[in-house]
């Protein structure tokens, strides 16, 4: 168990914009679990949220496994926001699945989305 850091403590350069659809929410959950930061805005830069290249590689694997698609890797490393990533993922999802990518149980429970957020317990994805 790790205690999540509040986004407000990080001095982000842009205001918080919440994730828009279910795909973005799902991605934000995966980001939050890896970064132990909450909440994650749709335009927040992964590296500004405290991410580094090693965490990005871990997160990429989380996303591959959770969504069952392998989005263009450059998105996470070069244009790393939830909104950009959702666009890259959406291109790959078959139309029938474009709405709701189902969570996969083997990767652990994502943190509960919340706008209050600070101090939420988070279990890091993929840790055994």
């Amino acid at each position: 168990m790790t205690t999540a850091v509040s986004r407000d403590q990080l001095g982000m350069s842009s205001p918080y914009v919440p994730p828009e659809d279910e795909l973005e929410h799902r991605l934000a959950q995966l980001w939050g679990a890896r970064l132990t930061v909450w909440p994650i805005g749709r335009h927040d830069d992964f590296f500004q949220l405290g991410g580094d290249s090693l965490l990005a590689a871990e997160l990429q694997l989380d996303i591959d496994q959770a969504l069952g698609v392998e989005a263009d890797i450059a998105t996470l490393f070069i244009a790393p926001t939830v909104a950009e990533l959702a666009d890259a993922v959406r291109e790959l999802l078959p139309p029938s699945r474009a709405e709701v990518p189902a969570p996969i149980s083997t990767i652990g429970d994502p943190p509960v989305p919340s706008t209050v957020g600070a101090g939420l317990p988070v279990s890091p994805v993929g840790e055994e």
Partner: protein, 427 residues
């Protein structure tokens, strides 16, 4: 005249002459390292200030760093992993910052975990593996030389840019089409201050972009290997069991990155440094005529070039080095390039002597973190010089060489040469 060292030195400045001058030396200045003045500066530091503190304003949690320039001190700092950790940044550009690769990438991991990660990779890159690759590497080297075998002007740096991937590409299973781009990204990560590689946004942005693009590349490669399996190094890292656990994806990718940078740093810059010195003199022909001196000459080229100028460590406990006490938590930069010119160990250190034996240079470092690719690097360098000598009777300078601007990488960005091909019956 006395300038107390800011970092907790036990010695007063009066122990050293020439203090005022030496105090102003900026060892973090890429321009200094890009000029031959570095040898003079290192020489004076070795003699007068073997353990030298430099304050730095803008380096995260650090307020400066120590430099050691003597062979004995450099060995000590690199080899004594109980007192000097590699987990708080190993290069000057990480001074005062958290190293996200700590404990995950071999170069940034201390024993005992380091050994458990290193052993399987070391086996795969060892002597027997080097022999298996000999034919492939020789073919690659011939290909690099082929374009210039007819003679005429060429840039040695451009020609040699393909050498690291000629060696490492097959080991990592990287497609040949990707080699030029990987070489360019590696250059952005090791010589971010150099105008040839720097992005318009500046050095910091260049380093960040190159670094992330390489991590992205290797993440993608790891994805494919995880799916298909393979007998390359990426697959080996994915399968590896360290302390009962698989390496995380970040650790796998970070080690690939580190291997590529290691190869990119050493390989091209050793021959170019040697050729910059030999071209236009009869020393080239002398060495070329003596195949029995191929190996000792390659060791001398390694010493001469010292392409990795420094490695950094952080003291875990207070340590005394040449009479100066380094406090716990302070960074120490070990200047390999200086150690390799230390007259206490090398007689006439500024002479390129292909017969030099013994030649205990530190170009590959020393201790547990000794370059894991040294066997492959030596193989590639020996093959390169053998093929070069078979191709050219002589080499002459053909314009101004330009050095790489970097605090870490010592080498050339441009080295225009003209080759005189050997007659066929001589080959």
């Amino acid at each position: 005249m006395s300038t107390p060292a800011a970092g907790g030195s036990a010695l007063s400045g009066s122990a050293y002459p020439d203090l005022g001058d030496l105090s102003r030396i900026d060892l973090a200045d890429p321009m200094l390292l890009a000029s031959d003045r570095r040898y003079e500066v290192w020489d004076r530091l070795r003699r007068h200030r073997p353990v030298h503190w430099q304050s730095v304003a803008d380096a995260g949690t650090a307020d400066g760093f120590w430099s050691v320039t003597r062979y004995a001190d450099v060995c000590r700092v690199l080899a004594d992993h109980a007192r000097f950790t590699s987990e708080r940044g190993t290069l000057l550009n990480l001074l005062g910052r958290r190293d996200p690769a700590a404990g995950q990438q071999m170069a940034a991991t201390d024993p005992p975990r380091h050994g458990r990660m290193r052993l399987p990779v070391q086996r795969a890159m060892g002597l027997s593996s080097a022999r298996n690759y000999e034919r492939e590497v020789r073919a690659g080297v011939r290909l690099l030389l082929a374009d210039h075998a007819a003679g005429g002007p060429f840039d040695a740096v451009t020609m040699l840019a393909g050498l690291p991937l000629t060696v490492l590409g097959p080991l990592l299973g990287v497609p040949t089409a990707d080699w030029p781009e990987l070489a360019r990204l590696a250059a952005m990560c090791t010589a971010e201050d150099d105008p040839a590689y720097q992005l318009p946004e500046g050095a910091e942005a260049t380093l960040r972009r190159g670094h992330r693009a390489l991590f992205g590349y290797f993440s993608d490669l790891a994805r494919k290997r995880a799916r298909q399996g393979g007998d390359d190094l990426v697959s080996l890292l994915l399968r590896m069991d360290v302390d009962g656990q698989r390496l995380g994806r970040g650790a796998v990718v970070s080690n690939c990155y580190s291997l590529l940078l290691g190869a990119s740093v050493t390989l091209p810059h050793v021959p170019t440094a040697a050729l910059a010195h030999l071209a236009g003199t009869d020393r080239y022909a002398h060495w070329a005529r003596r195949p029995d001196l191929l190996n000792s000459g390659v060791e001398e080229a390694l010493r001469w070039a010292s392409p990795a100028s420094h490695f950094m460590r952080v003291a875990r406990h207070p340590v005394e080095l040449s009479g100066v006490t380094v406090a716990a938590g302070e960074a120490v930069v070990a200047w390999l390039g200086s150690a390799n010119r230390d007259p206490a160990v090398f007689s006439q250190p500024d002479r390129f002597d292909v017969r030099r034996t013994p030649n205990r240079h530190l170009a590959f470092g020393t201790g547990r973190h000794y370059c894991i690719g040294s066997h492959l690097a030596r193989l590639a360098l020996r093959l390169f010089f053998a093929e070069l000598f078979a191709t050219f009777e002589s080499l002459t300078p053909d314009g101004e060489p330009v050095r790489v601007r970097s605090t870490f990488l010592s080498g050339y960005q441009r080295l225009p040469l003209r080759g005189q091909p050997r007659r066929r019956d001589e080959r």
